[in-house]
C-alpha cells in the first residue's frame, strides 16, 4: 500500500524506471529498424556496410538521421570555428528560454488563481467571463504572438506575456474546480464558527484546492515553454531555443541532425521543468490521503 509522501516500494520504483527506459529502447530500435529496412545505405568510417532492401520515404538520412549522427552532432562544435559543443550551446539557449518560461509560469499561475478566486466569490463574473477565458485559448498562439510583440515591444517582456497567456488558462480552470472541491459540510462547519468569507478562503478553500492547482501547474510547466519558444520567433530573440530552431531549420538540408538535436534538448527542458513541479507536488501533498497523489 502506498501512502502519501512515502515512496512506493523499491521494486515498484525500479520497475517504473525500467519501463520508461525499455520504451525508449523500443523507440530507438524501431527508428534504426525502419532505416535498416528502407533507408539510405549505411556507412561506417566511409565504407558502405549495408544496403536496405526497401525504399521508405521517411527513413532517409535527410528525414531521419541515425541516432549516432544526432549524438555525434551534440558532441561536436555547434558551428565551424566555434569551441562549444552543440550540447553546451543548446543548453545555454535552453536556460535562457527556461527563464522566460518560468516567469510566464509564475505570472500565469498568479493570474489564474486570482481569476478563479474572483469567479468563485462573484458568480456573475464567472458566468460572464469564463466563455471569454476559454475563447482566448482557441486563438492560435502563432497568430497572437506577433500582435503581442507589436503591443509590448520587441523584447523579452513580450515573450513572457506569451508564456503567461498559455499558462493562466489551465490554472484558472483547475482552481475554479479546486476552490469548490471541499466537502460541503466543511462550509457548514466554518459557518458554525461564524467564519467570514476571507477566513473560509484562506483556511478552507485554498488548502483544499492544492491537488487541483498542482495538476494545472504540471500542464502549465510545459505550456509555458511552448509559449516562450513561440514568442521568441517573431520577436527575434537571439539567445533562446526559438532562434536555434529557426536557424537549424534553415540549414536543415546540410545538417538535419542539428535540428533533431535541438528538438531533443527542447523535450528534455520540458521534462525537467515538469519533474521539478512534480517534486514540489510530492512534497507539498505529502501528508494527505494516498489517492490524492498519483
Amino acid at each position: 500500500m502506498t501512502t502519501a509522501g512515502h515512496a512506493p516500494s523499491r521494486r515498484t520504483q525500479w520497475r517504473r524506471i525500467f519501463a520508461v527506459v525499455a520504451f525508449l529502447g523500443m523507440v530507438l530500435v524501431l527508428w534504426e529498424g525502419v532505416k535498416f529496412l528502407g533507408g539510405d545505405p549505411w556507412f561506417v568510417n566511409g565504407e558502405k556496410v549495408w544496403t536496405p532492401p526497401l525504399s521508405i520515404g521517411i527513413a532517409t538520412d535527410q528525414n531521419l538521421p541515425h541516432i549516432w549522427s544526432i549524438a555525434g552532432a551534440l558532441a561536436e562544435p555547434w558551428r565551424r570555428n566555434q569551441e562549444d559543443s552543440l550540447f553546451i550551446y543548446l543548453a545555454g539557449k535552453a536556460l535562457y528560454t527556461w527563464r522566460e518560461a518560468a516567469l510566464g509560469f509564475a505570472l500565469g499561475a498568479l493570474i489564474g488563481i486570482s481569476l478563479a478566486t474572483v469567479f468563485v466569490h462573484f458568480q456573475l463574473f464567472e458566468r460572464a467571463l469564463v466563455p471569454y477565458v476559454v475563447a482566448s485559448q482557441t486563438i492560435p498562439i502563432v497568430a497572437l504572438a506577433p500582435m503581442i510583440i507589436f503591443f509590448v515591444g520587441n523584447d523579452v517582456a513580450a515573450v513572457v506575456v506569451v508564456a503567461t497567456y498559455l499558462t493562466f488558462f489551465p490554472v484558472t480552470i483547475a482552481m475554479l474546480r479546486g476552490l469548490r472541491a471541499h466537502d460541503p459540510r466543511a462550509l457548514e462547519l466554518m459557518r458554525s464558527y461564524a467564519a467570514g468569507r476571507r477566513t473560509i478562503f484562506w483556511k478552507l478553500r485554498m488548502p483544499a484546492s492544492a491537488p487541483y492547482l498542482f495538476t494545472a501547474l504540471k500542464i502549465a510547466a510545459t505550456a509555458s515553454i511552448v509559449g516562450a519558444i513561440v514568442g521568441e520567433g517573431p520577436g527575434g530573440i537571439q539567445e533562446g531555443l526559438g532562434r536555434a530552431i529557426l536557424d537549424f531549420n534553415q540549414t536543415y538540408t546540410t545538417g538535419p541532425e542539428k535540428l533533431w538535436a535541438t528538438i531533443l534538448v527542447t523535450a528534455l527542458l520540458g521534462i525537467v521543468f515538469y519533474l521539478l513541479v512534480r517534486l514540489a507536488e510530492l512534497w507539498w501533498l505529502r501528508d494527505r490521503a494516498p489517492n490524492v497523489l498519483t
Binding site: 457548514e188 462547519l189 459557518r191 464558527y193 477566513t199 478552507l204 483544499a208
Partner: protein, 277 residues
C-alpha cells in the same frame, strides 16, 4: 427548580423550494424545549427532517415560520457567539492538518491566546483518548478515531450546546456502541447539553434523557419519551428489561402507536435470547 432552557423551539416549520417541483415541506409545527444538561435524541424515518431541525438550531438554515432560541438568544446570534459545536456523520476533518491542528482550528478562528489554546487542545485530546495521535494525519486514523477528533474539535471552545448529526452512522455496530459509551462519559464530565440525531432506536434509548420521536415528512414531533434508565449507563443497561421496554416504546411510537405497551413475556425472552433485533 428547573434548569434553564438551552433550546426553545416554537411553531417552527421549514419549507424548501424545489426547482420545477414547487415546494417541499420538511418540518411543520415543531415545538420543543430542551433544558440545560439534557441529552435529547431526535429520531424518525429517513427524510423526516431531523437533520434539518438540527441545522435550524445551528442557524445553518433559516426557518420559514416560527422561532428558534438558543441560550436565550435568537439562533443566528447564538451562532455568531459560537454557542454550539457540531459533529456531522462524516468527520469532515481537514486532511492537510494534523490531528492537533484540526482541533486547533476553532480556537485559531476565535483568536484564543496561545497558552490557553494549547492547554485546551491537550485537554480535549485527552478527553477523547487520542493524545498519542496528535501529530498524525487524518488518513492514518480509522473512521472511529477520526470521529473522536471531530468531537474533540466540536468541544474545543467549550460551547454550551453540542449538536450531533448521526455521528456514528458510518461506523460498525461494535465501534458505535463503544463510541456511545464515550460520548456519555464526555457528557457526564462536561455537563454539556446534547441534541443527537439518529435513526438507531437502541442508540437513542441508550444515550438520551429524552427521545423526540418524529413523523415522516412533513416532520412533526409526535412523542417525547422520557428515558428513566439509571446512570451511569453501561453494557448491562443494554441487557436490562427496562431498556427493552423503552426500545419497544420508541419503536411503537415510530410506527404511530399510542405508546401504551403490552409486554408479551414469551416474546421478550425470545428477543433476549436472540439478541436485540
Amino acid at each position: 427548580m428547573t434548569s434553564p432552557s438551552v433550546v426553545e423551539i416554537a411553531g417552527l416549520s421549514k419549507t424548501f423550494e424545489v426547482p420545477d417541483k414547487g415546494t417541499m415541506t420538511a418540518l411543520s409545527g415543531i415545538d420543543l424545549s430542551i433544558s440545560q444538561g439534557e441529552f435529547v435524541s431526535l429520531i424518525g424515518p429517513s427524510g423526516c427532517g431531523k437533520s434539518t431541525l438540527l441545522r435550524l438550531i445551528g442557524d445553518l438554515t433559516e426557518p420559514t415560520t416560527g422561532t428558534v432560541t438558543v441560550n436565550g438568544k435568537p439562533a443566528p446570534q447564538a451562532r455568531t457567539d459560537r454557542d454550539y459545536g457540531i459533529v456531522f456523520q462524516a468527520p469532515v476533518l481537514f486532511d492537510w492538518r494534523t490531528v492537533e491542528d484540526n482541533v486547533r482550528l476553532p480556537l485559531e478562528l476565535i483568536g484564543t491566546d496561545k497558552a490557553t489554546r494549547e492547554a485546551r487542545i491537550t485537554q480535549m485530546l485527552e478527553l477523547v483518548e487520542l493524545t498519542e495521535f496528535r501529530r498524525h494525519h487524518p488518513y492514518q486514523l480509522s473512521g472511529g478515531m477520526q470521529q473522536r477528533v471531530s468531537i474533540a474539535r466540536a468541544l474545543a471552545f467549550e460551547p454550551a450546546l453540542l449538536l450531533m448529526d448521526e455521528p456514528f452512522g458510518a461506523l460498525d455496530e461494535m465501534t458505535r456502541e463503544r463510541m456511545n459509551s464515550e460520548v456519555l462519559q464526555i457528557w457526564a464530565q462536561t455537563g454539556i447539553t446534547v441534541v443527537f440525531v439518529t435513526h438507531s432506536i437502541p442508540e437513542a434509548v441508550f444515550l438520551s434523557s429524552r427521545v423526540a420521536v418524529m413523523s415522516a415528512r412533513p416532520g412533526r414531533v409526535t412523542r417525547l419519551v422520557d428515558i428513566d434508565l439509571p446512570r451511569p449507563r453501561t453494557v448491562e443497561t443494554r441487557e436490562s428489561r427496562r431498556y427493552f421496554e423503552l426500545v419497544t416504546k420508541v419503536r411503537e411510537a415510530l410506527r404511530g402507536g399510542d405508546g401504551q405497551v403490552e409486554l408479551d413475556e414469551a416474546a421478550m425472552e425470545q428477543v433476549a435470547a436472540e439478541g436485540l433485533g
